[in-house]
């Protein structure tokens, strides 16, 4: 099994000899920090610039990762289709932002741009939320009591189907988004520039995350969600409509994917039918990294993954480069699952994951 020592609180570890895996893991982290330090020393302005990019990416990933974590928390199901719901959300965003009805273009006055963007955001959220609920209704609900692998297989199937819906909708090539966000600098000092695009991602993401925390922690519906996640049968006995609660969870997860879809479409500038699979897996890794089922963990994991990706692709001194991003993220996923399946903030369960 995984090193026993690493799972105990720090105080209790005193007196134990550190296990081999802990030493290997910690030295890997130390090596990473040294690498980052040398890069920072060599090119400080680049480093901070890349840090800002990574943080923005991380905020985007957090929205998707939360969708995985919410669904996993309540159904213990890896919703493979989630990434593709996000992809369809970004396609919806491209369509909505590009309509002549909205007439959005670069350099528009803020009192025109913002209300329209909020309308677009609501459309995307409603679309993705509805889509996610439909996926649950068709692909997962019948299989509530089936062996665990059955809904996992239908999740993959749903993912492929949605991906092909995207393919049929927008074709096999990249679709360009109308560039509507202001592109000026928020600040530019010492060679570090922070553009409005990046800030807007954070401006949208932060309230959404706070709203989610409020929803789960403070509302009646959130309480029902937490109760269903803990014990479905007991929750049903307490008068909670379990199916409706699960549908609601999928709705929320889908709405978050819709927000991410719109932001991604505007920030990245182009969307394609297969982006959902790649980004979905990255976001899933983030969710596992933070501890799946744990909301703050998903955000933390997503920001870390965003930073790792940005550092890998942006830094100049001995960085593997974008060819290897996918491999690094997956290698990280495997290492986490093997050495610390409960993630950074998760709780350990006896079944070893």
């Amino acid at each position: 099994m995984v090193s026993e020592a690493s799972q105990q609180p720090l105080a209790a570890r005193r007196g134990y000899r550190p296990s081999v895996t802990a030493v290997v893991g910690l030295s890997l982290v130390a090596l990473l920090l040294v690498w980052l330090g040398i890069n920072f020393y060599k090119t400080p302005s680049d480093f901070i610039q890349i840090f800002l990019i990574g943080f923005t990416l991380g905020a985007l990933y957090a929205l998707i990762a939360l969708g995985y974590t919410l669904v996993y928390g309540i159904l213990e199901l890896i919703n493979f289709a989630h990434g593709d719901v996000f992809m369809l959300g970004s396609m919806m965003a491209v369509t909505v932002v590009g309509t002549s009805l909205f007439d959005l273009h670069q350099g528009q006055a803020w009192y025109v741009l913002w209300p329209l963007l909020i309308v677009a955001l609501l459309i995307c959220m409603a679309f993705c939320g509805g889509l996610n609920v439909t996926v649950e209704l068709i692909a997962y609900r019948r299989l509530r009591h089936a062996p665990r692998l059955a809904p996992l297989i239908t999740a993959i199937a749903a993912s492929f189907i949605l991906q092909n819906v995207g393919l049929a909708w927008k074709g096999p090539n990249y679709v360009q988004t109308a560039s509507v966000l202001p592109t000026g600098n928020v600040f530019a000092t010492h060679g570090v520039t922070y553009t409005w695009e990046k800030l807007i991602v954070l401006i949208v993401t932060t309230p959404v995350l706070l709203l989610l925390v409020w929803l789960v922690q403070r509302t009646r519906q959130g309480k029902a969600m937490r109760a269903t996640a803990q014990d479905r049968d007991a929750a049903a006995m307490m008068g909670i409509n379990v199916n409706r609660t699960i549908s609601f969870t999928f709705l929320i997860a889908g709405a978050l994917a819709g927000v991410a879809g719109l932001l991604y479409a505007l920030y990245a500038g182009s969307v394609r039918f297969d982006q959902g699979f790649q980004l979905g897996l990255i976001a899933f890794t983030a969710a596992v990294f933070g501890g799946i089922g744990n909301l703050p963990g998903a955000v933390l994991g997503a920001v870390l993954i965003g930073l790792i990706q940005a550092f890998n692709e942006g830094l100049s001194w001995h960085a593997p480069g974008s060819d290897w991003t996918q491999s690094i993220v997956f290698a990280l996923l495997i290492l986490i699952l093997v050495f610390r399946p409960e993630g950074l903030l998760g709780e350990r369960t006896p079944e070893g994951g």
Binding site: L143, L152, F160, L167
Partner: protein, 448 residues
Amino acid sequence: MASVARSDIDTAGLQSRALRWSIGGVLLLIAVAAEHGFGSLDISTFYFLAVFAIIYVPPWESVPYVGRYARATIAIIIAFTYPFFWDKLFTVPIFGAFPSVSTGVVMLVFIMMAVGLKIVVGYAGLLDLGYVAFYAIGAYVAAWFASVQFPHANVHFGAVGVGQNVPGFHISIWLLLIAAGFLTAMVGVVIGLPTLRLRGDYLAIVTLGFGEILPQIARNSDNFFGTGFNLTNGPNGITPIDSPGFFGVNYLTGSGTFWTSERLFYWTGLLLLLFTIFCSVRLRDSRLGRAWIAIREDETAAAAMGVPLMRTKTWAYASGAFFGGIAGAYYASFKSATFPGDFFFNISVFILCMVILGGMGNIWGVIFGGAFLAYLDQEGLADSGAWLNTHLHVNIEVPKYEFGIFGVILLVVMLFRPEGLIPSTRRAAEFHEGVSEEYLYDIQHEGN
């Protein structure tokens, strides 16, 4: 226990006698009706259905001693003689002609992979979403040691039809098939040891991760980690790869009008498939196979009965990987090329789809599922798409949506017939009555 296993072997998924007779009769009626309706059918339709009826309808399993081999023997004879009559068969409505012999080779390879994956998914119940990694390793083993990829070496050993002064490694494909199998099995063990103690869905994700990492390594290793060493030739792939051969007959050229290249590849593929099926069935009925099924049905109970979980699971993983590696090496040699683009996640799901469509525990089911889906992939979708476009006056590129169609197949099968089209009786019972997926002691689920 023994009696359950016995009936699982003998009547594997075959329905009651009355049902079989009626299915046979209905098929015959369909054939008669179809001949009038479509006009593309001829006397070969009746031969085809007659052979099907001979395999399917009589209660062969009740004939003592030889009865249980009858169906398999007839099927093998038909498979071996297929290259002689495939072009004389009728045209199937909507789908068009029967698959050609070279399509048959691809089908055989994919059936072989499906049978290999079935050991992991069907017997041991471990969902492997990265099976394509084993296919990739097998393919690259063949590519490295039977091509001009490493021009500084000049090693020849048993390769047929390769000049002595051609640079690179040129090892006999027969040896490479074995080497690929064992190397892939070893990789399977290496991947499996740290990951197999994870719970089912996490294991699926980890295998998916390996399935994504290996092709990326293949794609990026034309400059191996910056050393300038060209390991895989990057996205351009390695081509050409030597063909197998024996007694001076090279498979690429063939010999005369009888031993054509296609037929040689087809028959060899069939032999490899039969070997795979034989191993698979014998493994299932062995002590190890019974341990796999025990783990699939209830891991906790199996452990309590003294089944070593890790070792048994690792064996399942290694044996599944073994056949994936052989199939990959053979396919690379047949295509005479290997590209990183061949090893996407799609292919893992494609093979998984074969296993699930046909029926997870049943060998006939997997053969049927593999043959049908590989045929759809190679010819069927294009043909049926063309039929659809001409008859419904639409313009849909059906092959473009191949994986969407596979997704629909997976979804429909999983929702309405999770045990597959031709299930094993045992597996069907598990899906309908449920097996113990709940854990004996589980903090999160306490009280369930």
